[in-house]
């Protein structure tokens, strides 16, 4: 297993990991500020400003609900659970795994940044149903972003689009590296030895 960071100056969050039998293009959920200051902007934070406030608010609310109404206790409990779940469900890193001749797999690892990933979602696209792997632009709120899309042909002939790095949405240089890697592995060009 060998990990390299091809775009170390501008996109150090992008790494290529060579496993035996397949390769992984991983984008971690942080990036450098694009104004050249070198500041790190984290998408998944270990501590946020809400973390110390929650026990304070929770204890105040608990003491206020002294009448013992079940609904109030339930509401407070649900809010607490939702808060803990949202802090433990942050996207840690997303990857595209390339299995040459077999297919590609789009993964999304979620959890708390100080622990190992708790939840992993994996979508495998078989090489025979992978129609193409493209970079396209899309409108997202008020912005126009590049995105990587795997075009999948389902068994009844219809096409569907699966977006790689759906939550992190890295910038174009990262997408270009992944695009070239997947194209070389999954859609090899004409074999030069035949001509």
């Amino acid at each position: 297993m060998r990990q390299t960071r091809p775009l170390l100056d501008l996109h150090p969050e992008f790494s290529v990991i060579e496993w035996p039998g397949f390769s992984e293009y991983r984008v971690e959920n942080w990036r450098l500020a694009r104004n050249g200051s070198g500041k790190i902007i984290r998408g998944a934070t270990t501590w946020s400003w809400l973390d110390p406030c929650v026990p304070v608010i929770f204890s105040l609310a608990w003491s206020k609900v002294s009448s013992g109404s079940l609904v109030a206790y339930l509401l407070i409990g649900i809010t607490l659970v939702l808060f803990v779940w949202s802090r433990c469900n942050q996207v840690l890193h997303e990857s595209v795994l390339v299995f040459p001749t077999l297919g590609i797999q789009l993964e999304s690892h979620r959890g708390h940044p100080s622990l190992e990933p708790l939840f992993v979602s994996r979508r495998f696209i078989h090489a025979s149903s992978l129609e193409d792997f493209v970079i396209h632009e899309g409108l997202r709120r008020w912005d126009v972003r590049y995105y990587l899309a795997a075009i999948k042909r389902s068994s009844n002939g219809g096409l569907s689009i699966q977006v790689a790095f759906e939550n992190i949405l890295p910038y174009f240089p990262v997408l270009q590296e992944v695009y070239i890697g997947v194209q070389n592995a999954m859609f090899p060009g004409p074999n030069l030895q035949d001509s």
Binding site: A33, W142, D143, V144, R145
Partner: protein
């Protein structure tokens, strides 16, 4: 890209997948500008559910379909501020130098002109239609147009009549420098006609038989297009000339009137109604006729007339708008927009055609030389170069010019301008420019030309193979 190559954004509400004059003008102009080496993109609104987002059209034309809802026939409401975020992102990431807005009814185009000064981007506006001055819709539209054109760098119109109309409606005159009480028209108003692709409109090689003369009418069946005149004259023509038939294509609110007149005078075998005709089938309909009839009450250019003349038909038209400017006198008969004069003009045309005095092939050769898209693109490029070399208007002059719109409109539009600036400052803070996904890769013209050549070679090879296969089977 060569040094003088520009990055141009065409902005209009009216673009494909809708079919029409403005839409095909924008597309053909963009295609020819790309051929001359510039980079062109188009910004328009989306057509849900499937024509949304960023699309590509041949040849290497990128189209942004923005999510704005339309109110009537593909036009959006003027909401001045909601376009700014999208406009800013697109202009900055595509490194645009110049925007070209089309059509006075297009709110997106006018807003693009309003927002352009934040980015140092120059503006050109093209007007495609004629408007009146009396009715409520015209008064409102003309005021909006005047406000938008106060600070535009150049205006292009499709005919001299259209130029006069736009100058009057949009108030494109300034107090002269020598004598401020005298107004003179701005120097930056140009006339560049439309064009057509003559290869798509060739006459049929066999001459038409002279026993039956077919009169072709192809237009939207609406009041503006003078369908009432057609309804009044068709029975008279059918009664006066037993060998004349009408072929009418198109759809619209006045279809019922045509059906009624057909029933009333029992002309079912003399008047043929084709319904809506696709643009690629237009030539096949035109070659069936010898005369083309256009009864529009208003027409700024009349591209349908040109297409018919190119296909070798003799044209009869009402003398309105820019129609007298487009063809020489011996290829067209004019009529005033009243019933008797239209009858006289059609009779004249029938006589000319039945005596064999009009040669379709010669007409096609003449019209082929009149209009050419490459020429239109070259003239438009000259306008762009003039605009780029001129000095941009600074902000205070912009405010002063906006205030001259009138006691109420001036204040309103200046307020819109200033709030726009504040919204722009907010956007610069909320979505900083360094976080934008800049466009780093675009089609290179050489790569595109090579791919197109390979595709056409593969196409001809495949056709030859199929012909060969068929030949083998026949033997």
């Amino acid at each position: 890209m060569k040094d003088e190559a520009l990055a141009i954004a065409m902005i209009s509400d009216f673009f494909h997948p809708n079919v029409g004059g403005v839409e095909s003008h924008i597309y053909m102009l963009s295609a020819n500008l790309i051929r001359r080496g510039h980079k062109v993109i188009v910004i328009t609104h989306s057509h849900p559910p499937d024509r949304v987002g960023v699309r590509w059209l041949l040849p290497s034309l990128k189209v942004y379909h923005l999510p704005f809802t339309t109110i009537a026939s593909s036009a959006t409401l003027p909401n001045y501020f909601t376009f700014l975020p999208y406009f800013r992102t697109i202009i900055v990431r595509e490194h645009i130098n110049l925007i070209h807005a089309h059509a006075s009814l297009s709110a997106l185009g006018q807003e693009g002109i309003l927002h352009s000064h934040f980015f140092g981007v120059r503006t050109v506006f093209t007007d495609h239609s004629l408007f009146g001055f009396e009715d409520a819709a015209s008064i409102l539209t003309n005021k909006l147009l005047a406000a938008a054109l106060k600070n535009v760098d150049a205006v292009i119109c499709v005919s001299h009549t259209s130029r006069e109309n736009t100058v009057l409606r949009g108030q494109l005159f300034e107090p002269s420098e020598d004598d401020p009480s005298v107004s003179i028209v701005r120097q930056s108003v140009y006339t560049i006609p439309n064009a057509l692709i003559a290869e798509q409109f060739t006459p049929s090689p066999q001459p038409r038989p002279l026993q039956t003369i077919n009169i072709v009418v192809l237009s939207r069946l609406a009041y503006r297009k003078g369908i009432d005149l057609l309804v009044a004259t068709a029975p008279r023509i059918c009664a006066a000339f037993p060998n004349v038939k009408f072929i009418i294509g198109g759809d619209g609110p006045k279809l019922n009137d045509l059906l009624q007149v057909r029933e009333r005078y029992l002309l079912q075998d003399r008047i043929e109604l084709l319904g809506p005709v696709r643009h690629r089938d237009v030539r096949d309909v035109l070659v069936r006729g010898s005369i083309f009839l256009n009864t529009s009450l208003t027409e700024s250019f009349g591209i349908a007339i040109l297409e018919a003349a190119c296909t070798g038909l003799y044209v009869v038209s009402t003398r309105v708008g820019g129609v007298p400017e487009i063809l020489p006198e011996d290829m067209i008969s004019f009529a005033n927009p009243d019933e008797d004069d239209v009858f006289r003009a059609i009779s004249e045309a029938v006589h000319i055609v039945s005596q064999g005095n009009h040669d379709p092939l010669e007409a096609h050769e003449r019209v082929k030389s009149f209009y050419d898209w490459m020429q239109v693109a070259e003239r438009t490029e000259n306008v762009y170069n003039t605009v780029i070399r001129s000095e941009p208007i600074d902000f205070w002059t912009r405010v002063q010019r906006t205030m001259t719109l009138g006691p109420f409109a001036g204040l309103i539009y200046t307020a819109i301008l200033i709030v726009d600036c504040l919204f722009f400052l907010f956007l610069e803070w909320w979505m900083p420019r360094e976080d934008m996904d800049f466009v780093q890769a675009h089609w290179k013209p050489e790569v595109f030309a090579e791919l197109a050549q390979n595709a056409s070679q593969a196409g001809t090879q495949r056709k030859a193979y199929i012909r060969e296969e068929r030949g083998r089977v026949d033997i």
